[in-house]
Every structure is written in structure tokens, then in C-alpha cells.
Subunit: 114 residues, 6 copies
């Protein structure tokens, strides 16, 4: 059975391909810049994914949260470490982050079940 | 000569003491929760300070940026590592973050000169 | 027949229980702080729920709006009083709040039908 | 077959009618002000719709994006011109805008298919 | 001696007069709508000023906070009641609100000294 | 006599040079992407500057507003056209934009006096 996380990832892939068809250099370069921001550098990619996750939570973007949680799981962060990051996001961003915390916890559970 | 960073820290200390005089349990507890979010736990405090810095940059709060940069310097992050975190914040948050990037770079330089 | 408001409340309850299972003191304390912010104090809880509603509207969080509208209805605010609060949120937050005003009006109608 | 864009427009019409029934002068005046902001004046309405679209993208409101894309298509903006506006929104707002860029591109495709 | 609150109010008055000279009906109507949102209606103006203050705090606008604190003091809210409103804003908006809480407490003290 | 607009532009130039000294490819590429977003393309640069201005106003960034107003003046937009753009930003973003409208009007007056 397909979860909402699978559906998000299919939609994301499909629309990113649609955007790749658009003939606009600025948009393509932005996507490259975005990908490169999370590769290993002076900071390991693993750390940068965690930064991306917390940024996504305080900016309250569920799709961005889903993307970075999957990346964080693949990078090897444990649930306990991710809960710590969730807590930083919650304290910085306040109770308005709670609906996104619920979403993030559910996404993490879905990602672990695969 | 006192820098704007020194002045911010004096103001912050003075007003936090004023707030500590306020007889409101919720406000006091929030301040404790905030302090505790950055202590060593499953994630080291050093990592959590970097999370706090990126969250502050994408939310575009100069005072929060100043506070977390000082904490990150004390925690031992190098300039090159902090620039990597700045880049994640810039890509996530966009050009609207640039004025805060200018502020962050200036604050980091001020913090290193002390 | 179950409305979207019923579904939100079921999901909210289920995920809050899931979060309560997480062994993280900071997260638990934040949830307590959040609950306590709306109990009777120097300001009555009824007033504080209205403050929470307007904060949720200008920050444009539908789940938070749903939660606070149900609380405001239980606290005894009339439709006419809530429309006044909606108007403050609309003027402060601008037309970007309109989709959340539509959501809020629909939620209020659903809450009254129960 | 009804698209999500059709469904949004039906919902929007239905709820705007519900809001028009509310007896609150401030809310009615705000809706008039909003409508008037995009009529021909010193700047043509066509230009102002594009301003509204970019504002909606950087503020990350999908319903507002849908509304303004339909208006921009009716005003005669081409896909290539709209992609340029999308790029400005992406650069100003950062990668947190990407999910809304996906939404905007999909909406534009749906609007062209009618 | 002139405080920063006096200076803000002078600047605000001077620039609002400058804006009143601008020949744009939409801008004038918006200012009227804004003024009218806080007059006595089904909700008393006093309550609506408190809503405006909390909205200003979670949206993190110091000038708006200063304006609404002066209005709240004139409307008769006590310090203890305002601290309760500050706490709601702090919990909803998170630690990113703290610099604005410091500003709000300082403004309230300045307003009481006049 | 140096205005606050002159001071902003000096500070901006100085800090952008400092950032150009930082050895980080991602940051440099972002600055290039930002510059390129406003050059003539399918949409004229003049139109894109106006989009950048409205985006800056609804995101409530005074430094970004100052930058784009100077660009808009150089691109040939009249005061009356800019007031129209200000009005769109005000209606979309609400009264929380008013302090930034005051700032924008003052900046425009300063830019015209040079």
C-alpha cells in the first residue's frame, strides 16, 4: 500500500522532471545550487541535511520536511538525534510548529517502515 | 571601543534581567526551555547551536543570529564551517536572507577580534 | 458523516499520543507550556484563546486555526465576536490571510453544526 | 473530469459567497480593496496581477498562487514570461519556495488545458 | 529627554502625513480600514488592541508592537494582563519572538514613565 | 550630508566585498544568480525590479526595499507607478507592511533628492 510519503515522492519526481523541461537557465541553476548545498564539504553532508531539516521546520514547509527527513534517515541520523533537532525547531519556532512536528514524526515513522 | 556586538550583549543582559523580574511562570519556563534546548544531549550542544544559527538566519532575526554566532564561536566551529551553514541558510531562505548574511559575516568578524 | 474537522481532531489526538511516547523532556515541557498558556490567569482563558486564534490566522496555520476555533466556541465566543477577531487578523495580515479566513469560516460553521 | 484547479475555484466561490453573507463592514471593505488593487490604474492590471503572483509565491500561499495564475493567464502573460516571474520568486524566497514552484507549474499547465 | 518611543512616534506621525499626501485611493482606504479595525464594535476596542498586539509580536514587527503597546496602555490594560498576552505570543511564536519580547517590555516601561 | 540611504549603500558595498573574499563557491554562485534574476530576458529587467520590490515589501525587509527602490528609480519607474506597487504590497501583506511602507516612501523621497 502506498503511503502519503510515497505519493509525495512520486509527485515531487514528476514535477521536478516537468520543471527540468522548462527552458530557463536561472531556475536550472537554482536547482543545482540547492543540490550542491547538501554535499560533503567543510561540513559533512550529513550535518547539512540536519540543518536543512530544522530550517524547513521553522519555516513550516511540510514537503521540505518530508524531503529532508528521508535524506536524514539515509544519512544515518537516529530517531533520538532527530527528536533533538525537532526540539530545537519547536523551541525556536513555537507552538505554530506543532502541526509540522506531528507531520515530521509521522513521516519519520513512515520512512522507518520501508 | 565598544562594538555593536558588545552593545547588543549588554542590552540583551539588561533586558533579560528585567524580564526575570516579571512574575510570570510561563515566561520563566520558556526561557529555561530555550536554554536547555542547546545543552549536550543525544546531539552535542555544539551541533544544536549550529541548528539554532541556521534557524535564526532563515527566520531573519539579527539579534538571534548574533547570539548564536557567539555561541558557535565558543563551541569551536571554524569560520569555514560557519560559512557552510550560512550557505545552507542562504539557499533555503533566498536572497531575502542576504542582508542577514552581511550582518552574520560582520558579527563573526567582530567575535573573532575579541 | 465525519467532517474534515472531525478528521483533523482524530489525527491530532493520535499524533499527540505518538509524540507523548517520545522520550524527550524538552518536547514534553513545551506541550505543557502550550497548554498552560491558555488557562485562566490574570487574563481569562477565554480571552487568551481569542489571542491564540488571531495569532494562528496571521501566521496562516489552518490546523492551529481549527484548534483555536473549537476552543473559542467552547469558551463561549459568539459568531459575531469571532468575525471581529477574523477582521483584525485580515487587516493585520492582508489578503494572504483570505484563504485562511475561508477555512476559518468553514470550520466555525462545522463546529456550530455539532 | 474536474481538476484540482476546478475544485479550488468552486470552493473559493462557495466560501466567498458565505463570507459575503457575514454582516461585517470591515471584511466587506477589505474584499473590495483587494479586488480594486488589481484593476487598471497608473500601472496596468496585467502588471499588477504579476506583482500579486510573485508576492503569493514568496509568501508561499498555494491558493493565492492558483488565483493569480488564472488571472495572469487571462491577462495574456505567456508561459515564458511567467517562468521569469517564477524565477524572481525562487531567487528572492529560496528553496523553501520550490514546493510552491511545483504547484505553480502544475496549475499553469492545468489552466492552459482548459 | 526624548526616548526611542518618542522618536518612533514623531517619525510615525511625520511619515503618515507624508503618505496622506500621496494621491492613491487604495492606500488611503487601507489606512481607514486599519483604524476602524480597532474601534468599539461587537468586541470592545480594548480587546481588539490586545489582539493587534499579539499579532504584531508573533509577526515580529517592533514598530507595530510599539504602536499597539501605547494603545493598550491607553485602553487600560495593566502590566500583568499585558505580560499574559506577551506569554501567549512567546509560546505561539517561539524563541524567535524573544528579541521582540525584550523590545516590548522596554517599550511598556517607557510608556508607563510618561 | 549623508542620508541613511547613502549609509546603507556604503555598508552594503563594503560587506558584499567582504563576502566576495569568502572562499565558498555556493555563496558566490547565489550572488550571481541573484544579479542575473533582474537582467533583461523574456521579461524586461525593469519589470523584474518591480517584482523584486513587491516581494521585498511583503517579506518586510527594509534593506531589500532600499536596494530595489534605487534600482526601480534607475529603471525609470515614476513615483505614481511605484505607489501602485506599494498598494499591491500593502493589500497582500496587510497592516504589518505599514512600517515598511513608511520606510519605502522615505527612501523613494531620498532617492529622488540626489
Amino acid at each position: 500500500m502506498s503511503s502519503r510519503l510515497d505519493e509525495f515522492q512520486s509527485y515531487r519526481t514528476r514535477m521536478n522532471e516537468r520543471i527540468a523541461d522548462i527552458n530557463h537557465l536561472g531556475i536550472h541553476r537554482f536547482f543545482n545550487l540547492d543540490t550542491n548545498a547538501y554535499t560533503d564539504g567543510t561540513l559533512p553532508g550529513k550535518t547539512k541535511e540536519l540543518l536543512g531539516l530544522v530550517a524547513s521546520m521553522v519555516l513550516r514547509c511540510n514537503d521540505c520536511i518530508d524531503y529532508h527527513i528521508v535524506q536524514c534517515v539515509e544519512a544515518g541520523w537516529s530517531d533520538e538525534e532527530l527528536y533533538e533537532a525537532f526540539n530545537v525547531a519547536l523551541v525556536v519556532g513555537g507552538s505554530i510548529v506543532i502541526p509540522h512536528l506531528r507531520h515530521a514524526v509521522e513521516t519519520l515513522d513512515l520512512a522507518r517502515q520501508r
